[in-house]
């Protein structure tokens, strides 16, 4: 556990960007303005699956106020190749094809053409004048349907990779992978109880409040300038350069403030299209998605079909576990089924495991990452079966999990042994939490628990520090700030420098002004960019000790620093006093940190949910909810709690309300926040949090990363609570009133 006391780390200073955000002065993607700005509009396919036979833009082009129209034909045409643009290696043709459809529209809402005009209204009117001749094709909307023999094929050239090897089989299954450990048959044979169940989860959207927005200017000097809302400015730079076939040095991306992302703003949808329109017009072009565009044209998380089979001895030890996962990738391969498979049994020490996973394309938008991508679907299945087994064995559900919990040295099904982890500590915290020990009284009420895991990631980050003469420090970094990371990064620098967090001025820079920094995602920013800040601060301290030594005519090795005070013998200077004397000791002090760190620490999260089920309507009300998570070290506990609460609320949304409600023709019928019901503060109780700190030995301050694991267990915990409230096992998400009523009626029959 974390037992070290820090001066800054672990405290709760006011966030540096707080004033701008609460006064409305912060500038988001759509706020960008420029002289001679044009407005873009994207025409989207009305069909879920159709061949594009002809696009005639002539009528649109002659509409007064229209300056340019682009289609996929305006992209550089060249041979296809694999590119790594921030979310794994993908064919360039898929990236370009998702920006503007070429040959086929693969989902309703697929971008087909774009217009730039003097106003958004004229651009929208012009888009309506573009004639697109489609040949509608049958669509397929779920993974099981898409895997059927004879299902409509999205990509005629897509051949299934079977267990890592290419095949000649054309299908909608892009990949079939397997993880195996031990002897599954022997493990199941050794079990006294075996439970096998199947589950389905709906397509859900990240639901970030700010729609995608981007402005691009293809400048006369050949440079492309971009201002946008993104989780990764360097991802946008690299994708834009790659798609437009220009060097990355010709693209400069300035990240605006971002109103949420949750993984959905790592992919790029608008910037290269805006750049093409700008090249044609010589003017900056801004494109802002509507909410309908966001739902229909950006990447939600996969719907899925999962089977889980778990064998257990009467003493409560799991002997074997088997899973089959088929995830909807959307229009292009890459569904995050692999991390789902790697997480599905990650909370447990199981000797015999087989996991088969399938990445399946369907006629829905290409899916994107969403907070612990793939893991929430998987945990809903596994944790519901675990709960059912615990009940069959009459063992307390937390105690059952503790008997099987993963710990340091446990081998996961995908191979590696865990280093220091906090699964047991999370479960023990849940077990002794007042919530778990308070009786839940009243009819139709039930309590459920579940746990979940997410890996977290490292990847490159950069940070620069410059010391000001007044003793403050400017911090420049490349991670867009979604959840208060300016402050969590600044606090780590301040801790090393021995100054207050408020004396560090953090700013997020454009891609010309800071070294490469991977996207804000994977719960990596406080871990990796914080590490870069730690390293930059070490660099500053080394230089400052040298400067103090110069002033004192002493050996730099004799200079010590503690709590912002430099000493050598009886000589003393505060950080502020020394900062004022930089000119006379050699000039500015600038520290740099650039890392690609190892030492990533995975995070476990658990939750306790109390619900009440209305037996007349099936409506589920959450009465009380507690989120518990091992975060390694909470740099700023308020923001850690905020992440835990946010992830919990999103998980509750998955559980009870959210889904892409699709017509048989592949049209999303609820593409507005009025009909796509995300839980709000009015729907939920206060989400209680319990921070567990099992230090990650791989980070200077023990940070693990906190942004994702908390979304993993809520749907399963709520399903388990519904069972105890209403006596029905729910195996499909969302568990909305019709679904719960149907289950209750079936049980009555």
């Amino acid at each position: 556990m974390s037992d070290r006391e820090y001066a800054v780390v672990g405290t709760r200073p006011v966030r540096h960007d707080g004033a701008d955000k609460v006064t409305g002065r912060a500038l988001y993607g759509a706020d960008f303005q420029a002289a001679a700005l044009l407005h873009g509009y994207i025409l989207r396919s009305p069909h879920a699956h159709a061949r594009i036979l002809r696009i005639d833009t002539s009528k649109a082009m002659v509409l007064a106020g229209v300056k340019a129209v682009v289609t996929a034909a305006d992209f550089p045409q060249g041979p296809d190749r694999m590119v790594d643009l921030g979310d794994g290696d993908v064919p360039l043709s898929y990236v370009r094809g998702n920006l503007l459809a070429s040959g086929k529209a693969l989902y309703r809402g697929h971008a087909v053409a774009a217009v730039a005009a003097v106003s958004r209204h004229i651009a929208e009117e012009a888009a309506g004048l573009i004639e697109v001749e489609y040949e509608p094709l049958p669509c397929v909307l779920t993974a099981p349907d898409a895997m059927q023999e004879g299902a409509p094929l999205l990509h005629e050239d897509l051949k299934t990779r079977e267990l890592g090897e290419p095949t000649d089989r054309a299908s909608n299954v892009a990949d079939h992978l397997r993880f195996a450990m031990g002897d599954i048959d022997a493990g199941l044979a050794a079990a006294d109880v075996v439970v096998e169940r199947e589950f389905r989860t709906a397509t859900v959207h990240q639901g970030y409040i700010e729609p995608h927005a981007a402005t691009a200017l293809w400048n006369n000097d050949g440079r492309v300038l971009v201002w946008c809302s993104t989780q990764g400015a360097f991802v946008v730079r690299d994708v834009t350069a790659c798609v437009l076939d220009i060097p990355v040095s010709r693209v400069k991306v300035t990240p605006m403030e971002i109103g949420g992302g949750f993984g959905g703003k790592i992919p790029v949808y608008l910037e290269p299209v805006a750049a093409l329109l700008s090249r044609k017009t010589g003017r900056p072009v801004k494109i802002v998605m509507s909410r309908k565009d966001v739902f229909e044209g950006s990447g939600p998380t996969p719907g899925s079909y999962i089977r889980v089979k778990i064998g257990v001895r009467n003493d409560g030890r799991i002997t074997a576990a088997q899973a089959y996962l088929a995830y909807e990738a959307g229009a292009n391969p890459g569904s995050m089924v692999v991390p789902g498979a790697m997480c599905i049994f990650a909370a447990y020490d199981i000797a015999n495991v087989v996991i088969d996973c399938y990445d399946v394309v369907v006629n829905k938008p290409s899916t994107a990452a969403y907070r612990a991508p793939g893991a929430t679907n998987a945990a809903f299945a596994a944790e519901t079966v675990v709960d059912e087994i615990a009940e069959k064995l009459a063992i307390d559900p937390i105690e059952f999990r503790l008997r099987n919990a993963a710990k340091e040295g446990t081998r996961r099904a995908d191979g590696p042994k865990y280093r220091r982890i906090g699964c047991v500590e999370v479960l023990e915290t849940m077990k002794r939490h007042p919530h778990y020990n308070t009786p839940l009284e009243g009819p139709n009420r039930g309590r459920g628990v579940a746990v979940g895991f997410w890996f977290n990631i490292g990847f490159p980050s950069s940070c620069n520090l410059s010391v000001n003469a007044d003793g403050t420090v400017n911090l420049v970094e490349g991670s867009t700030d979604i959840g208060g990371t300016r402050t969590s990064i600044a606090m780590q620098a301040a801790e090393v420098l021995g100054i207050a967090a408020e004396d560090v001025n953090p700013s997020v820079a454009d891609t010309d002004s800071i070294g490469y920094t991977f996207a804000t995602g994977g719960s990596r920013t406080t871990f990796a960019t914080g590490w870069a800040a730690w390293e930059a601060a070490q660099d500053v301290m080394r230089q400052l000790k040298e400067r103090a030594a110069k002033l004192w005519d002493a050996d730099a090795a004799s200079v010590t620093a503690e709590a912002g005070v430099f000493r050598s013998g009886d000589k003393v200077l505060t950080f502020r006093e020394l900062a004022a004397r930089l000119d006379e000791t050699g000039g500015p002090v600038v520290g740099r940190g650039a890392v690609n760190p190892k030492g990533v620490g995975g995070s476990f999260s658990g939750c306790i949910a109390d619900v009440e089920v209305d037996p007349e309507t099936g409506k589920v009300s959450v009465l009380r909810f507690t989120s518990v998570q091992d975060v390694g070290k909470a740099i700023h506990p308020s923001y850690v709690e905020g992440q835990m609460q946010g992830g919990s609320v999103q998980g509750i949304g998955w559980a009870l309300n959210e889904e892409y409600y699709m017509s048989p023709e592949g049209t999303m019928l609820n593409s507005s926040f009025l009909d796509y019901r995300m839980p709000t503060a009015l729907d939920l109780p206060m989400i209680d949090t319990a921070i567990v700190e099992v230090q990650n030995p791989g980070h200077p301050f023990g940070v693990r990363g906190v942004g994702e694991a908390n979304i993993v267990p809520p749907p399963a915990a709520i399903a388990n609570a519904i069972y105890r409230a209403a006596g029905v096992r729910m195996r499909r998400l969302p568990m909305n009133p019709p679904a719960v009523m149907e289950a209750i009626w079936k049980q009555r029959d």
């Binding site: 991390p339 590696p416 042994k417 719960s523 190892k598």
Partner: protein, 88 residues
């Protein structure tokens, strides 16, 4: 020698063995040694001079950003795992 854990999907190349020993001071050298004994395995792990797309290597339980250049000790445990990126 480092102990290499063979992913389920490559075990047909190692006669069904899930763990094998391979000599080398780096992941690249370990793979070259694997290739000498289990021909074909290199191409399943390496593409264009680097680890295959969407593949990562973990040494002693820790995913390495250095890939083929990662150093290994004689006591090291090596895993080839799916590369994970993320969501928030």
């Amino acid at each position: 020698m480092p102990e290499v854990h063979i992913p389920a999907m490559l075990r047909e190349l190692t006669g069904g063995r899930s763990t094998v020993e391979a000599a080398g001071a780096t992941i690249r050298e370990v793979i070259e040694d694997l290739e000498r004994r289990w021909p074909g395995i290199r191409d399943r792990l390496i593409d264009g001079g680097r680890l295959r797309p969407n593949l990562a290597v973990a040494v002693d339980g820790e995913v390495s950003p250095l890939g083929l250049r990662e150093a290994v000790e004689p006591s090291s445990e090596v895993h080839f795992v799916a590369a994970i990126k993320g969501g928030v």
